[in-house]
């Protein structure tokens, strides 16, 4: 049984135990299945392995936990999808994913106590103000990214940005500026990640 780790350009020659299975114009990076410890350390190990692979080549991560019986099954898994996967691979080439979440800041910067919403109307006004601020952040960051995706979540903004290598520094600096402009928000930015959120075309 082998784990499917990522899709990359045909002809890739990774370091063992990772093997590249060539199929339909792409290469599937595979590794013998091991029991991933389902804790934070185990997940970070998986992530680090993808990052080492990503340092040498563009890649599309495969959904975590995808396993097949053998290399023939790995080849069959992408047969017929080569052209579509190459389009996605070209889309993420020379770029990384940055995660941005926006929450309300936990402590108000103003010295006066925070106004607790006491009615439905006030609650809705507060929600609308949050959404406006989150939209301002989203639009400002969209301008610096090749692509973006919004994830479902309870936060005012939970998004992924596809950012070119050369633009990462400017992106992070813009996040700092936006944080300074919006002290009422907590803007959480992590990365760079492999392009997990851009591996599939939008449905």
């Amino acid at each position: 049984v082998i784990d499917l780790l990522a899709i990359t350009d045909a002809g890739a020659r990774p370091v063992p135990p990772i093997v590249a299975v060539q199929s339909d114009g792409v290469a599937v990076l595979c590794a013998p299945s091991t029991d991933v410890q389902p804790d934070a350390a185990g997940l970070w190990q998986h992530e680090e392995r993808l990052e080492r692979l990503m340092a040498e080549r563009p890649l599309l991560p495969v959904r975590f936990g995808t396993r097949v019986a053998d290399e023939a099954a790995a080849a069959a898994a992408v047969a017929g999808r080569g052209a579509e996967l190459m389009v996605r691979l070209d889309h993420v080439r020379d770029a990384v994913e940055l995660a941005v979440r926006v929450r309300m800041a936990e402590s108000e910067p103003e010295p006066e106590p925070a106004i607790e919403p006491t009615s439905g109307a006030e609650y809705l006004r507060a929600r609308t103000a949050q959404k406006h601020a989150a939209n301002a952040v989203r639009e400002a960051l969209d301008a610096l990214a090749r692509d973006s995706r919004e994830h479902a979540g309870s936060e005012p903004l939970r998004a992924a940005y596809l950012v070119e290598h050369g633009a990462v520094e400017a992106f992070v600096e813009r996040v700092r500026e936006l944080q300074a402009e919006h002290p009422e928000l907590a803007i959480l930015c992590t990365g760079p990640w492999p392009p997990y959120s851009f591996a599939e075309a939008l449905a």
């Binding site: 599309l60 936990g65 995808t66 997990y196």
Partner: protein, 63 residues
């Protein structure tokens, strides 16, 4: 994204972003495959355990 070495709160932020990506991102392969669904369920359980352990580090409320 390397393993965060910063504060517990920052590690938690990064872990949530990692979980978002591992559980919902990536190329979905259809066909004769085995998804390690049991592992993923355990991951979710493990995250809840982590969140509760972070919460338990907060000082107890004063009586």
């Amino acid at each position: 994204m390397s393993v965060p070495t910063s504060s517990l709160a920052e590690q938690d932020v990064a872990l949530v972003d990692l979980l978002d990506r591992l559980l919902a991102g990536g190329v979905v392969i259809a066909g004769e495959i085995t998804l390690a669904v049991a592992d993923i369920d355990l991951v979710r359980v493990s995250l809840r355990a982590l969140i509760s352990s972070v919460a338990s580090l907060d000082p107890p409320p004063q009586p």
